[in-house]
């Protein structure tokens, strides 16, 4: 699965989202619960803004010096006996991972949740060579057995499904016979996957953070599957987006604290695992071979541009959890595995405007995302920045360009502004019913389909002021 998901236009996908009442109910409940949890978690930390500023500083320092920290990281992984592969493209990353599987004669690969492997379509690449890839994160497993339904949220990938739908999928695909209680569904998966873990040849994970000073990979999880994936199979491959590096364990502390609180409102998730692989000679379990694949796949194009701060993202989904647009259309409508505000910023950067040009407009610029971001990415400003690029490259409609040119002219000339404001009432008069407009012409049609529009008043405020001042002078 590449980044792009689903065909059709954004409008059609959004409409479909709006009509999906199951999904909307689940998302609504989830957003409200996460909002409460996160607010609590913020409060417990004391000065949340101080933490945010510190986190922002850490991220911007690291990304500003990315070459340096990636070099230290790779040297340290190598010193520990691990292998590092720098992949410029998705294809390069996949070829390398395929070659390991081939050399190990791997039949079965166990995977923990990882967005970057989704992004590069790693599963498909491995499956094409005859390797079985099993997703072990509960949410990802649900999606995988449901004909590879794409994820709709970067932390809770199956958020768009309710438990009844999940129960049906389990019974249809895996002969499940119990109820739709989440406990029973989960126990079923635990039993089913235990065997698979013990038999897997290779374990593949993402990487929440890589620590440059020690060549370690940190995984932040709750289910324990990522621990199994990195404990039992003899080979561990970690795939990381190149920006996910931190200088030292001290910065790791800050960012992990922020990630857990922002993502799920926990102080720490059940498992934060620091892996400095491969295993030492005297260790009994853990991987004998460790590979770190560092993926660019379009990220370097963001460096040195006004969008650079998008690379500070730690994938907590806090922006998604507060987004009122996401709330109503769900993740699939974004047409990208990265949904919500961060998805609307990242997807056009990583894959180009062609497939994702509508996304920067799928925001009322309410700035809830910017406010929620633990590393202070100005998300709504970056959406405007995208609109700027799109307008400059004249990818907008001629009508809009023309209208905005006109706007600039009118707004900078009191005379023209006066004229426009005066003609508006006359132009709108035929549509005005008493004081309001119920069915407007032109662009007003979209407005009045949903809401009434106020009719322009006969006396504008400035006319009143003029009259009043005259009166005062008298």
């Amino acid at each position: 699965m590449a980044m792009k998901i689903g065909g059709r236009s954004f409008d059609k996908r959004a409409e479909q989202g709006v009509r999906d009442s199951y999904m909307r109910e689940t998302v609504r409940t989830a957003q409200e619960r996460l909002y409460t949890n996160k607010s609590q978690a913020e409060e417990e930390l004391g000065d949340w803004e101080e933490w945010r500023s510190l986190s922002e500083k850490i991220r911007s320092h690291t990304v500003d010096n990315l070459d340096y920290y990636l070099e230290r990281l790779s040297e340290n992984v190598s010193k520990n006996g691990g292998h590092v592969y720098f992949a410029q493209t998705a294809a390069e990353a996949n070829r390398y991972i395929q070659s390991i599987a081939e050399r190990k004669e791997a039949k079965k690969v166990m995977k923990a949740k990882s967005m970057v492997t989704e992004e590069i379509s790693m599963n498909e690449a491995l499956e094409a060579t005859g390797v079985e890839v099993i997703e072990s994160d509960l949410g990802e497993y649900i999606l995988q057995i449901d004909d590879h339904d794409p994820p709709s949220h970067i932390v809770a990938p199956a958020l768009h499904k309710n438990k009844e739908q999940i129960k049906d999928t389990f019974s249809r695909r895996k002969g499940y016979q119990k109820t739709s209680k989440p406990e029973e569904l989960t126990q079923f998966v635990r039993k089913k996957l235990r065997r698979e873990f013990l038999e897997a040849d290779i374990g593949i994970t993402g990487c929440n953070f890589a620590v440059a000073e020690s060549g370690s990979v940190a995984l932040v999880t709750n289910e324990g599957n990522a621990r199994l994936v990195t404990t039992i199979p003899k080979t561990h491959i970690a795939v990381m987006g190149m920006e996910r590096v931190v200088p030292t364990w001290e910065e790791l502390d800050i960012l992990v604290s922020m990630l857990c609180r922002s993502a799920v409102g926990q102080k720490l998730t059940s498992y934060v695992t620091g892996l400095t692989g491969p295993k030492a000679q005297e260790d009994v379990d853990g991987p004998e071979e460790f590979h770190l694949v560092i993926v660019d796949n379009g990220r370097s194009n963001i460096l040195g541009t006004p969008f650079q701060s998008a690379l500070h993202c730690i994938r907590c989904a806090a922006c998604i959890n507060v987004c009122p647009v996401y709330r109503h259309i769900g993740g699939h409508a974004y047409g990208s595995i990265y949904p919500g505000p961060i998805g609307a910023v990242l997807s056009p950067l990583l894959e180009g405007y062609e497939d994702h040009q509508d996304l920067p407009y799928a925001s009322s610029l309410c700035a809830a995302c910017t406010d929620a971001c633990p590393v202070k990415i100005p998300l709504h400003e970056l959406l405007v920045e995208h609109r700027k690029v799109i307008a400059q490259e004249k990818k907008t409609t001629l009508g809009e360009t023309f209208a905005m040119k006109g706007f600039g002219l009118v707004a900078s000339s009191p005379r023209l502004f006066e004229m426009a404001a005066k003609t508006a009432p006359a132009l709108l008069a035929p549509f005005t019913n008493k004081e309001t407009i119920e069915k407007g012409p032109g662009p007003l049609k979209e407005w009045t389909a949903i809401r009434d529009f106020p009719g322009p008043k006969k006396e504008r405020f400035r006319d009143w002021v003029k009259e009043r001042n005259k009166g005062g002078a008298e």
Binding site: Q88, L198, S216, G277, D283
Partner: protein, 245 residues
Amino acid sequence: MSSGNVQNQTTFLNHVADRLGRERRTTVNPPSYFSFPHQKMGKEADISELAKVLKKQCLAIHTDVREATINNLREVIDQVFVEYEAITAAVWDDPRFHQFGLDSIVERPQVSVWGEEPGREANIQAAEQADVGITFSDYTLAESGTVVIMNGAGKGLSVSLLPTNYIAIIPLSTLVPRMTQATAAIHEQAEKGRRLPACINFISGPSNSADIELDLVVGVHGPVRACYILVDDLKKEKKNEHETN
């Protein structure tokens, strides 16, 4: 240990530097941070206050807590066994079991000590079939209710992971306010150029998931239940101090 391969490094990193609009950097001044909110947290708290914070947090993370002295630790562990209906156990090969008077537990035939069996598979198998896994805690983070364990050699990763239940023995002397103190210690090792344990776990309670409708389910792929046993290992030390004074 022989070094691993690093491929495509130069082209990749040159390109990154190029995009950043400069030459490659071979030295970087460590960032000057202007605030340290994490170091302030819990700084004033003494051990008993930290224990209080820890116990409260355990309620939030669905973790049972028991308290013991070195003298009755064995009985307390046995009580947890009864409660969890557990018979078999996997434990670390760790001198602390002896120091804390637990030889009689370790020597039971139903208890397998990590590394005792020959070979990787046999050890994993034993842990997988155990009802309980028992390890000591190396650092215990009060704020988040977290047990930090440094795995390696006789301290197998599987012991805290594969059994149905997990017991962490927490000497009070391991209590620190939060993650900050543990990562500082790890950072110190790294700075000295020491190789870190291949796996360091920060464990906060049993495994769980909220992937289905964001409803929390406790017990997924890792242990289904977790119990922390706080052992007062400080009293004795204090006595010694008095004696030497």
